[in-house]
């Protein structure tokens, strides 16, 4: 049943990304449509390290990729501290489009629009992950760790601090807390999640190209946490599993193939409008 396993693996990778986006957009309240770009950097870094002259094994490449994404995410969210809400929407769009332009044009680094084929499968503690079943185990472990980390920080003082910042930054500063440092560490954590997801994605598909990390992917991520439910762990899990299942379910409905594809994107759009009008907190979240 590879099809089911593939769906689960991809959904779990998107859960990690959902956690990352939820941390930034849901909890800290920084609007971001450039998470797919960070996800892409994670994927390309791992691919590079594992295909290098003397290749690194999977875990070290993942750690380095996560570190790169931590740094990138901090860099990407810093403007949001200087620029007010709506302006940052455009900056975020800009960063995503710039990243896509780099992925496509820097052929030496990313293989350009042709993508990067032949990424070796990961090896974890000596066990080489080949079949999809093994992949499901690896991704389940990774996403479980991600969810645990998310759950722990939300229960810890750090989580309470982030929720307070979202409500009233000035009051938090007046209570003696360093708001900037809290936001930057949240962005760093979000980067680590996105980098890990990137590494898993690259090795699972064994081929990556710029189109998996473009603006549509970022908007899909944003929609996942909005439909699934913002600011909660449940929302970050429900969103990806539901929205990745949607295209498959819709193909079972036999609409004439010529307009089936456009019809599916149309239903996607209608879902977005419906949720925003009638259930902005999504299926399992809190009000945005």
């Amino acid at each position: 049943m590879d099809f089911l396993y593939t769906y689960i693996v991809l959904a779990e990778i998107y859960v990690l990304l959902g956690l990352s986006t939820n941390l930034l957009v849901g909890i800290v309240g920084i609007f971001s449509v450039s998470q797919a770009a960070v996800f892409g950097v994670g994927a390309y870094v791992v691919a590079h390290l594992m295909m290098a002259a003397d290749p690194l094994s999977f875990i070290p490449s993942l750690v380095i990729a996560a570190a790169c994404c931590v740094a990138l995410n901090i860099l990407v969210t810093l403007p949001s501290l200087r620029v007010s809400g709506d302006y940052f929407v455009v900056t975020s769009f800009g960063i995503q489009l710039l990243a896509t332009a780099v992925f496509i044009n820097w052929t030496a680094g990313t293989g350009g629009a042709n993508g990067l084929p032949g990424i070796p499968p990961p090896d974890v503690f000596g066990l080489s992950i080949e079949t999809t079943q093994q992949y499901v185990m690896l991704c389940t472990a990774a996403s479980a760790l991600g969810c645990l980390a998310f759950w722990l920080i939300m229960r810890a003082p750090f989580g309470r601090l982030l929720r307070a910042i979202r409500e009233d930054e000035t009051a938090v500063a007046a209570a003696g807390k360093n708001v900037l440092r809290a936001k930057v560490s949240a962005a760093a954590l979000a980067g680590a999640f996105a980098g890990t997801a990137g590494g898993l994605y690259a090795t699972f598909l064994s081929f990556i190209d710029p189109f998996s990390f473009d603006l549509d992917a970022s908007i899909l991520l944003l929609t996942m946490i909005v439909v699934g439910g913002a600011r909660t762990l449940a929302g970050s899990i429900v969103g990806p599993f539901l929205l990745l299942a949607l295209p498959q379910v819709l193909t079972l409905v036999d609409i004439p193939t010529t307009i089936a594809a456009a019809a599916r994107q149309l239903i996607y759009g209608l879902l977005l409008i419906a949720f925003m009008l009638f259930r902005p907190q999504g299926l399992a979240g809190e009000r945005l």
Partner: protein, 254 residues
């Protein structure tokens, strides 16, 4: 030894409005000082300057012989000065206990590394801090409302909670922005009793207050501010009975 807290030569303009004009005054340790004056006299502006939210055009603030101007708000809180806000600015969706715990300084697990990799230590430290916060809540008489969300508290209870949050920072000098305004007589007495208790605990209070009955009952010292300048300083009786000041403040006899 200079004064406990010294504000000298504060001057600040917001565009055309000359909010603070060469304003200077001192605060004595362990005393309750009230800041009174008509609306727009610059009372809240002074609070913003002392707590680092506003860099004044000129002038300086010294606390226990240490210059504060130029420090960021959180550094000033660590130096021992904390404030409340006229519009409360509580975290409506969080519980009363959580609101107070936000004030507690230096908690373990306030950044992701500690929270994730040492969860047990974080949980233990948090239990101690929770106990501490419950104590503060009890001190202001809100122990039974600890786990209620702020949205469901009465206005009087919310006022007490702002004081609890300020106490949690462990600051010695508390700047309270109209702690008694808009309260029923019952709640008013509770707040005034609390302020006296805080003085008993060795805290120094600088209180912005309009209610002259409250000022007379709790103030050791009154500073009368008008158009950003300190007009007079003295005991409540002297300030309130002074006809010239009453003229400015009430536009007529008391």
């Amino acid at each position: 030894m200079n004064a406990y807290m010294q504000v000298s030569g504060l001057d600040h303009r917001f565009g055309g409005l000359h909010a603070l004009q060469d304003c200077s005054f001192t605060i004595e340790h362990g005393r309750i000082t009230c800041l009174v004056g008509p609306n727009g006299a610059g009372k809240t502006t002074i609070f913003n300057v002392i707590t680092g939210f506003l860099q004044p055009d000129e002038g300086s603030v010294a606390f226990r012989d240490r210059r504060l101007d130029g420090l960021r708000p959180q550094a000033i809180v660590h130096a021992g000065i904390a404030r409340t806000f006229q519009n409360l600015r509580l975290f409506a969706d969080l519980t009363a206990l959580d609101n107070v715990m936000i004030g507690i300084a230096g908690q373990f697990g306030e950044e992701p590394i500690g929270a994730i990799f040492r969860p047990l230590h974080t949980a233990r430290a948090q239990k101690r801090r929770r106990h501490e916060a419950l104590g503060t809540l009890d001190h202001v008489g809100l122990a039974d409302r600890a786990h209620d969300v702020v949205r469901n508290l009465s206005y009087g209870e919310q006022k007490l909670l702002t004081v609890a949050r300020v106490l949690a920072t462990g600051a010695e000098l508390l700047l309270l922005d109209e702690p008694a305004s808009g309260l029923s007589t019952g709640a008013l007495d509770a707040v005034m009793a609390l302020l006296r208790r805080l003085q008993g605990d060795g805290k120094t209070l600088l209180v912005v207050e309009h209610n002259t009955r409250v000022v007379q009952q709790i103030a050791d010292e009154v500073l009368f501010l008008h158009q950003g300048h300190l007009m007079a300083q003295g005991t409540p009786e002297r300030i309130i009975s002074d006809p010239a000041l009453a003229e400015i403040y009430f536009g007529g006899a008391l």
